[in-house]
């Protein structure tokens, strides 16, 4: 399991890939950061909060995370190296977990870059550290959930680009589940609405960004991650059975 993890990390960090992704993420983050500061100027009484910024950050994830995950399995298949992994004494489950952990590591690296902004804010102003930590935990869960989704899609196709595009669509849809459940049409049926709403991730993220760490939210994100990783595992196994 460890060799695969290591190899994945090498493929990210020995190439400009991880750095470019982290740089792009920082650039986008800085955009929200500067607009956030611009808003502050009128009302100086408020301590600077990253809460609102993190909302825009999860929209950037829709474009960034698929780039991270698109190659995970699609490229292995394209190169013909899937055979190597499948015929080595490592179980498919371990392959999935190793690749997931590698993606999460790169993602943490991306998040680490953004710590730059709270640090310079703290130098010139005030940062509510506890809330910031909560927001980071929330964003960590959100991103890992997207990674699991992206990996699942990558396991379905041979083309990384296709995996990325479909990933963007599905992640976009996931973001707006709660808005969808609040549309007038769905509100006519309260039961349906409550079912759809229970799948909404954004309200759960909101709790984190407001400084609440609730077990139920963590269980929610954890379950989504586990479900998508299991589907990834099943998709790989199923394709082997169907091949031809």
């Amino acid at each position: 399991m460890f060799p695969i993890y290591k190899k994945e990390l090498q493929s990210f960090f020995y190439t400009p890939f991880a750095y470019a992704l982290a740089a792009l993420f920082m650039l986008l983050f800085s955009l929200s950061f500067s607009t956030g500061i611009a808003k502050l100027e009128g009302t100086n009484t408020w301590a600077f909060s990253f809460t609102e910024m993190f909302y825009s950050v999860i929209i950037y994830f829709i474009f960034l995370i698929p780039f991270l995950t698109m190659r995970t399995f699609a490229e292995e298949r394209k190169n013909g190296t899937e055979v190597l992994l499948m015929t080595s004494p490592v179980s498919v489950l371990k392959i999935v977990i190793a690749k997931f952990l590698a993606n999460v590591t790169v993602y943490l690296f991306m998040l680490l870059g953004t710590a730059f902004f709270p640090i310079i804010t703290a130098m010139k102003g005030e940062v509510v550290v506890s809330q910031l930590i909560c927001a980071y935990i929330g964003i960590f869960f959100w991103g890992t959930m997207y990674i699991a989704v992206g990996m699942f899609l990558s396991s379905l196709t041979e083309s990384p680009i296709l995996a990325a595009i479909i990933g963007e669509i599905i992640m976009f849809a996931l973001l707006f589940v709660d808005d969808f459940s609040n549309t007038p049409f769905i509100s006519q049926y309260p039961k349906v609405q409550s079912v759809i709403y229970s799948f909404a991730a954004q309200p759960r993220f909101a709790y984190f960004s407001e400084g609440f760490i609730r077990l139920s939210d963590m269980v929610f994100f954890g379950s989504v991650i586990i479900v998508f990783l299991s589907w990834t595992y099943i998709a790989i196994e199923k394709r082997r059975w169907n091949r031809g």
């Binding site: 060799p3 490592v90 179980s91």
Partner: protein
């Protein structure tokens, strides 16, 4: 020892491999021979545990590939048709990744990598990106990967494709050398390669095993049924009956009318050729039939292969063959001629 029983693979309703069973003994090189699309790669993928089988079992050194895949795969080194290399990795980097994947102990890794690189003569490219290597080098890097960790059982799917003649000879020498402490199954559609390297051969076509035997035996079985070509001038029926009645003649396969009372017979023989030839010649002389040509084909592996692949539908005896040639009044004149000679 590797046991393959009843192995079957369906792609949808299309049967790619049909209930094949064989064993690969220790220290044996088994050649897997068949035309393109015969099911070679599918079978190998199933043995290596990449493709699940529709039916049957594969047992590798005591571990079932489906029930205990991790244990079984530890004893396998697999070189697929397309070498499974990462284009973005350097050769040494790639091999060290594979060594980890195959659970070569950390302390032994660099030594093991040096060993396989030396064996396949890829030390000079160890720092190069695999992307920039030629096909032959990629193939050898893939082969090196299969040898890492010294697995007991090697599956090589067309290992010499894309190599130049010197490299082919080298790789063959390596495979032969592996026999000392490995079992090897290797596929090819190049006959000379198989006969040069393998102890036993499996000939497969359209998912069915056509033959499993040593090369000598295959040649012997088919050499026992020599093919005799005789060109005679004279009466066809008489000649046919003479040849047909001769001891050790199995069957007359073909009679061709070449005009001018000349007929070519293609005859399957068994047993001693010299005796048959003498018998036929003396009988023909007695009956006034002159022999213009007489020679035999010795079937080599190539013929065996082609014959097994295209197993011809058998002709139904002599009479049918005779009927194929239009009966002409010439027969009568021939008869009179022979009588006169007598």
């Amino acid at each position: 020892m590797i046991n393959i029983e009843n192995l079957t693979k369906y792609y949808g309703s299309n049967r790619a491999v049909n209930h094949i069973s064989f064993t690969i003994n220790d220290n044996e090189i088994l050649g897997f021979l068949g035309p393109n699309g015969a099911g070679k790669s599918t079978t190998m993928n199933m043995i290596a545990g990449y493709l699940p089988m529709s039916d049957g079992t594969v047992n590798i050194c005591g571990a079932d590939i489906t029930k205990d895949p991790v244990k079984a795969k530890r004893n396998i080194g697999y070189l697929p048709e397309i070498p499974p290399v990462y284009p973005d990795m350097k050769v040494k980097e790639y091999l060290s990744f594979c060594a980890g994947l195959k659970r070569v102990p950390v302390g032994k890794r660099s030594k093991e990598i040096e060993r396989v690189m030396g064996l396949l003569k890829i030390k000079d490219v160890s720092g190069k990106l695999i992307r920039n290597l030629s096909k032959g080098y990629k193939q050898r890097v893939g082969f090196a990967q299969a040898l890492l960790g010294d697995p007991k059982f090697l599956i090589l799917d067309e290992p010499t494709v894309g190599l130049d003649p010197t490299q082919v000879a080298e790789v063959r020498a390596i495979i032969k050398d592996l026999k000392k402490d490995h079992s090897v199954i290797f596929s090819s559609h190049i006959l000379s390669e198989v006969s040069a390297v393998c102890d036993r051969v499996i000939i497969i076509n359209k998912g069915d095993i056509k033959a499993i035997d040593t090369i000598e035996n295959l040649e012997k079985t088919f050499a026992a049924s020599l093919v005799l070509h005789i060109k005679v001038k004279g009466d066809k029926d008489t000649a046919a009956s003479i040849i047909g009645m001769t001891k050790n003649v199995k069957e007359i396969k073909k009679i061709e009318d070449e005009g001018n009372n000349i007929y070519s017979f293609t005859v399957d023989l068994e047993g001693d050729y010299d005796a048959i030839r003498d018998a036929i010649m003396s009988e023909c002389l007695k009956n006034g039939i002159s022999i213009l040509e007489i020679y035999t084909d010795k079937p080599n592996l190539e013929n065996v292969f082609i014959e097994l692949i295209n197993r011809p539908t058998k002709k139904n005896g002599l009479q049918e063959l005779l009927d194929e040639i239009p009966d002409e009044s010439e027969n009568n004149t021939e008869n009179t001629e022979t009588k006169e000679e007598e």
